[in-house]
Amino acid sequence: MARSLKFNIFRYNPQDPESTPHMESFVLEETDSMTLFIVLNRIREEQDPSLQFDFCCRAGICGSCGMVVNGRPSLACHTKTKELPDEITLLPLPVFQLVGDLSVDTGSWFRELYDTVESWIHTKKEFDPKAQEERMENEVAEAIYELDRCVECGCCVAACGTARLRPDFLGAAGLNRVGRFLIDPRDERTEQDYYQIIGNDMGIFGCMGLLACEDVCPKHMPLQDQLGFLRKKMGITALKTFFKK
């Protein structure tokens, strides 16, 4: 016997002067292998075509569909209804600017982040199209990829107490991004350069260690270890800088 599922969904269209923030309920019969991707599209096509939400790859790779599912920021596309109770509450991710209903603007947030942390390889070397590539140990490449795996869905930021309290906090995704360049031998930035970026309360010292980022990350990024590593590293740089004065 298929369950009847009740979805309480946050509704608000900021572009419509008549719209006010409220919760709206939709009821659907559960089907086999049902995911929130199927649920939301069915609601849009069968019940309310104005419902806003974001999906892209719907395979857990692109990070578009972050939303708060029964209190937990997660990717909607790989959330199966089978694992949820009969009543499900869907809210947009906090911290990010609301576009409408379940859709938020993660793009602007992350774009700003790239500029702040200068999210690119800093090198004085010029590319020589005729030369063989520079060698790199495979282990190093794999370690970089492990940190490069982040899909920037924003779940860690939405779950972060610090990010809720201070809008300029880089969040686990931002700090992890810096960590990715820190271990890349191609990037010529020094510890001092990185310290300029994250050696402050907007960066690693703003982290209060609540670890919600670690616990909600849909890609299971090693955020706890990464934040700990950065805090130690930047902490030592802080002392060096302080006593050099």
């Binding site: 269209n13 419509d16 719209s19 892209c56 719907r58 692109c62 578009s64 199966k80 690119w120």
Partner: protein, 615 residues
Amino acid sequence: MQTIYTDVLVIGAGLAGERAAIEAAQAGFSAICLSLVPARRSHSSAAMGGMQAALGNCAKGEGDCPDVHFSDTVKGSDWGCDQEVARLFADQAPIEMRQLAHWGVPWNRVVPGKDTYFKGGKIFDKEEKEENRGLITARDFGGTAKWRTCYVSDGTGHSVLFTVDNVCAQLGVEVHDKTEAVALIQDGQTCFGAVARCLRTGELRVYLAKATTIATGGFGRIYPGTTNAVICDGGGHITALNTGVVPMGNMEAVQFHPTGIVPTEILVTEGCRGDGGTLLDVNEERFMNIYEPEKQELASRDVVSRWMTHHIRLGKGVKSPYGDHLWLDIRHLGEKHITGKLREVYEICTSFLGVDPIHQLIPVRPTQHYSMGGVRTNKDGHAYGLKGLFSVGEAACWDMHGFNRLGGNSLAETVVAGGIVGKKIAEFLQGAEVTFNSGVIDAEVKKQQERIQNIISCKAGTENVYKVRTAMQDALFKGANIFRTDAGLTECVNTLQETLARARKVGLKSNGKGVNPELSAALKIEGQVKMALMLSYGALKRTESRGSHNREDFTARNDRDWLTRTLAYWKSEKDDLPTLDYEAATNIFHIPPGDRGYGKSEIIKADDVKTEDKG
């Protein structure tokens, strides 16, 4: 109305678009990419496998060179590709991989020493050389003579896209995400930019540019089941075909993958079958061993897809709320193998289906995967018909894939073509002086505003956009699928013509205010049906079988009459059918048409009418 000027406007911020924008920016030009989603969410990120480039660093790739890569690509295309373009691509690919390494892509590297690998369920030995330690390594992919596919673990597309987007941020290439181009601004000769709709506010915006580039990827979403992301809906193609002067090339060339999971159509890798997985029907019995006694489940992609569809047609499919499907069985491979070598498959099954493939069957069916066709361009990426309009990547029919593309060639194409076309765009801009004609701009804006207003106010009718879309998808699924026949395609074209009439009567149920998703769908539906018609009508007229285009009533590859590329125009908005034209598939033959060396080989040669049957 906000008007934004830039030297280069790129519609789409996936790998191809961003890579092209980088070239322009490096040459000192301003560049803006428009994207439906933040750049890093583009569908390029979903390509897991890798990029083909003949670096020849790994043991199984020894002796590889661009010549071999070129030859594999031409054979793969079933001689439908432009050989000059395929040559450009193969030569540039290794350099591009090194460029990406320089920018920060963490390519997997050669680890010297002895190692083993699987092929067809058996274990073989190989030994990597010490002298190649730390160079970019490669993995094996179908249809290639050497191991040539450079990769970053299971996230090649993701990692390369992040790197390329980093470079864009560094160079100041702007990405306007949540922005959708709805029409090109052009006077029938020159393209001046595009009218776009902001997906944060719903407002229209004008982008004026000296060069405009369409890089919006594939259009798989016009099929009901596709491995493509939901944003791969052909939006960019629609802006081009609506000009009436830009043709779409080879729209009938569509690749299907045998094992998309049901529902949600996410791809599971060929490795499942490579390592010994089997396909089962509703009675949980094998069938590939009957249709293809020799190769069984391991026949080529298009062959397996064809038999699976045939079997479902016989009523042997498994019924489900998401349509009929078959089973993929990998249970006998054992837990160790499934959670080890096939970890990705294990994760997809558990995360998206809630199916445990160690003990349960995986629901699969052939699924639309790649569009070889698209906006027809010359080898510089310059679109036919409009000066200042370029196209690159899967969106374009640059045409290195012809009628079938090889795994790993599409992801490589995005960056290699992006680099080549980007340079050509910069060259084009060097001497370009464009006068923007305000009359043309205003007219296009007005036209789009009226169109939106009419859809919101249901002026032409109250057809439901989602129902029309389903009708279009179903028609293609039935008629322009893996198997194609005269009768099926004729019916498909007829149905689509009716659907087109309905698409023109779409009106909204909701109020259309702000970023209304129903309006976004409605703005595209007519163009999508036109693309579907280009596809099915082109397929109907192409009376041969080539690559992924399989006609049951014309089973041979006909080099005598069809060594051509279809060019489909939508000349007048009022038309109910596209206008087809043809051009030679390639002007230069480095490799004359011949046997591919795999699959069935039934060829009507260009110089005589003899059919060769090689079994």
